[in-house]
Amino acid sequence: MNWLPVSASTFAPGVDFVLWLVTIISVISCILIGFLLVYFVIKYRRKSDNDQTPAITHDSFLETLWTVIPTILCIVIFIYGYVFYDQYTTTPKNAVEINVTAKQWLWTFDYSNGKKTLNELYVPIGQPIRLVMQSDDVLHSFFVPAFRVKQDLMGNRYTYINFTATKEGVFDIYCTEYCGTAHSNMLGKVHVLSKEKFASWEDGSAKKVQKASSNLPPAEVGRQLYSDKGCVACHSIDGADGVGPTWKGLFGKNRIFADGTSILADENYIKESILYPGEKIVEGYGPVMPSYKGLLEDSDITAIIEYIKSLK
């Protein structure tokens, strides 16, 4: 069985080397200690209450041995741990920067050409990347197991991650600093593309995606957006209670708000809730939803509304 995730960055082999090194040292030590333990217990088991035992109190040679050997092993492990960490924290000169903003509970990526993506990070293979990261609210942590990189994000200063992807594919992004109710749904994906594919993505492939999906009915596009844009983190589609109200049966229902007012949930109400979520807070929920203004096109919002309509 595999005990390590796929290795997809230049940093990963170094980390794996350290993990293997310490694993081998640990397994040998465990077998040695476990064996001696069991062997002594069997060999020196009590035969009678009058067993004679030698009063051995110390042995300078053995004690030196088991002080010196662990010390040497510790030094070796420290050095390897440091060497690869040093590589990881040193930014290559030709690194391309991408800005990362975390908030409860989604990731936003801003690229130098003005593109902006939600929960989906696009990078070309072989290109050193430097993530410049900050949080809009509480602490978060950006973790890509396949790259073996992790770094906390906070509100008052920027933090950084360097990586160079070595494998094409789609890899998980996890938030690993506990950030509240929907922490475990604060997920994303890194798309590692070939140079060509990345170039075409950069040339407004957003339009192409749009075009491709325009063949689909709007409700289908909405279903896609529901998971791509992170709605899934807080809103269920099966009636289960989450951080936010479920979408099931939402459309056309009478909504009661925290201030006592109420309204019939129509298209305009949903659009307002997406763009200005603080305006009307449904009773029993907190004012925690971020605004999607500038993150969704009008056609996206329409698609989401159609999708909600379909959830009877």
């Binding site: 310490v22 088991w66 002080t67 990881y88 602490l139």
Partner: protein, 531 residues
């Protein structure tokens, strides 16, 4: 030997008041034992439910918020109400005066006051559960400041518990300096006392820092002072520094007493002197001192500087060496012994093995490059539980069985207790070993939901809790139903002072203070010294 019909400490007074207002260190120890036992069971039930939730990804039996509340309850209750005050205050109180040849601790009333403070802190902690925190036991800012839950009340409870720890620590330190019987020199002091001494030092020196931190948190929440919240110009990482400056030494507050326990149990059931007495005693002190300088290894990916990370990594490995020395010393005490596998001995031997795994997996986390990958994954959860359960709780269970005759004056059914041990040992490993692999695969901790590929390992881990719970219930059942008949004063032929009196001891322990003439672990036949 006293042949008078003196009442033992359990019979000397009946009813609530005779316990609640007692200044007898043994009764206070017993009361601590009951209190921490209750909190241990509540916190264990919380973890049982948390594990049950993980049978399936997404919702199994509870909502995400309930899950977050339960793991916070589990962590904070286990740490602050069970494991920190646990072994030191319960067995420390009961045993230290008996072991050093004293009639009580030096400040008996202060000792009772510490216990009352513990109860008060625990009460505040329980009241806070009306709106339970969902912050994790670490209360990281700014989430803990923004949270609508009773974070401040719960931390205030911990603040009070801190005073209880500090006062107990001072009491033990002074007791060991002033009340040792004639001839009980420092190099004859039982290793449990050495461990309790090192623990007390940590309690006195480290606990004030968590008190200060919690006060700052209260100032931030109620008076808007910007210490930790970036929105007010504060720094959330500062909170982490303060928190771990206490909580790392606290790890050794939790483990050192358990190391002391098994240093008592192993020589008795091997009929051998403890191997390398001085090395173990000094290693306890070395661990206590170095533990103050490693807190930053909890924060390698928090945003602290690279240089600081490197320094903390080096010092972290420095604490690994005295720990390794202890393991080998316990191991070599078995060599050429006459080993009896009593229940207490089984827990102690399991301690050696499980604590070794806990320690070795710490080497992964101390290595900078590996920690970047493993930090805040299940690997850390597994590592920490191997140290805290495989270490402290197994040590605690060893103590429960070992000093059972002395505490209660009765014997228990060793056979049933051994079956319980086997179930607990298997259950524990089935729970936590798969979590190492979940961690290396990248499964983050504190995750209500998880990806389907992790399900089989999560399920295995959950099945382990069922085995472990069965073992624990059998252990309680066995200990709650002692065998008929009175326990002898010294059922194990131990040479330690607490076994030289009746079981259970009289209220004042010793009719007259004994004079100590030989080393404490004076087992075996002397052989010619070569040097």
């Amino acid at each position: 030997m006293s042949q008078e019909q003196e009442k033992n400490y359990l019979e000397n007074g009946e009813g609530f008041a005779s316990w609640f207002f007692t200044v007898d260190h043994k009764r206070i120890g017993i009361m601590y034992l009951w209190a921490i036992g209750v909190f241990f069971i509540i916190a264990a039930i919380a973890s049982f439910l948390v594990r049950f939730e993980h049978l399936t990804p997404g919702q199994t039996i509870m909502t995400a918020h309930t899950y977050n509340v339960l793991f916070t309850l589990h962590g904070s209750m286990m740490v602050f109400l069970f494991i920190v005050p646990g072994v030191a205050a319960s067995f420390g109180n009961f045993l230290i005066p008996l072991m050093i040849g004293a009639k009580d601790v030096i400040f008996p009333k202060l000792n009772l006051y510490s216990f009352w403070l513990y109860l008060l802190g625990a009460a505040v902690f329980m009241i806070a559960l009306a709106a339970p925190a969902d912050t994790g036991w670490t209360f990281y800012t700014p989430y803990s400041i923004e949270s609508g839950a009773n974070v401040i009340l719960i931390t205030f409870g911990i603040f009070i518990l801190g005073f209880s720890s500090i006062l107990t620590g001072i009491n033990f330190i002074v007791t060991m300096h002033k009340l040792r019987a004639p001839g009980m020199t420092w190099d004859r002091l039982p290793l449990f006392c050495w461990a309790a001494y090192a623990t007390s030092l940590l309690q006195v020196l480290a606990t004030p820092v968590v008190g200060i931190t919690l006060l700052l948190l209260i100032g931030e929440r109620f008076f808007g002072l910007g210490f930790f919240d970036p929105a007010r110009g504060g720094d959330p990482v500062l909170f982490q520094h303060f928190f771990w400056f206490y909580s790392h030494p606290a790890v050794y507050i939790m483990i050192l007493p358990a190391m002391g326990i098994i240093s008592e149990v192993i020589p008795v059931f091997s009929r051998k002197p403890i191997f390398g007495y001085k090395a173990i005693a000094y290693a306890s002190l070395a661990i206590a001192l170095i533990s103050f300088l490693v807190w930053g290894h909890h924060m390698f990916v928090s945003g602290q500087s690279k240089l600081i990370n490197v320094i903390f990594s080096v010092i972290t490995y420095a604490v690994a060496v005295p720990t390794a020395i202890k393991v080998f010393n316990w191991l070599w005490t078995l060599y050429k012994g006459s080993i009896e596998l009593s229940t207490a001995m089984l827990y102690s031997l399991a301690f050696i093995f499980l604590f070794t795994i806990g320690g070795l997996t710490g080497l992964f986390l101390g290595a900078l490059a590996a920690d970047v990958h493993l930090h805040d994954t299940y690997f850390v959860v597994a590592h920490m539980h191997y140290v805290m359960i495989g270490g402290t709780v197994f040590g605690f269970f060893a103590a429960l069985h070992f000093w059972y005759p002395k505490m209660w004056g009765r014997m228990f059914d060793e056979f049933k207790a051994k079956i319980a041990f086997v179930l607990i040992f298997i259950g524990f490993n089935v729970i936590f070993f798969p979590q190492f692999i979940l961690g290396t695969l990248g499964m983050p901790r504190r995750y209500f939901n998880y990806a389907p590929e992790f399900q089989s390992l999560h399920q295995l881990s959950t099945y382990g809790t069922w085995i472990g719970a069965a073992g624990f219930i059998l252990m309680l059942w066995t200990l709650m139903r002692p065998l008929p008949g009175k326990a002898p004063g010294n059922p194990y032929r131990s040479l330690s002072l607490e076994w030289s009196m009746d079981s259970p001891p009289g209220t004042f322990n010793f009719d007259e203070i004994p004079t100590i003439t030989e080393p404490v672990y004076n087992y075996g036949t002397k052989i010619e010294e070569e040097s």
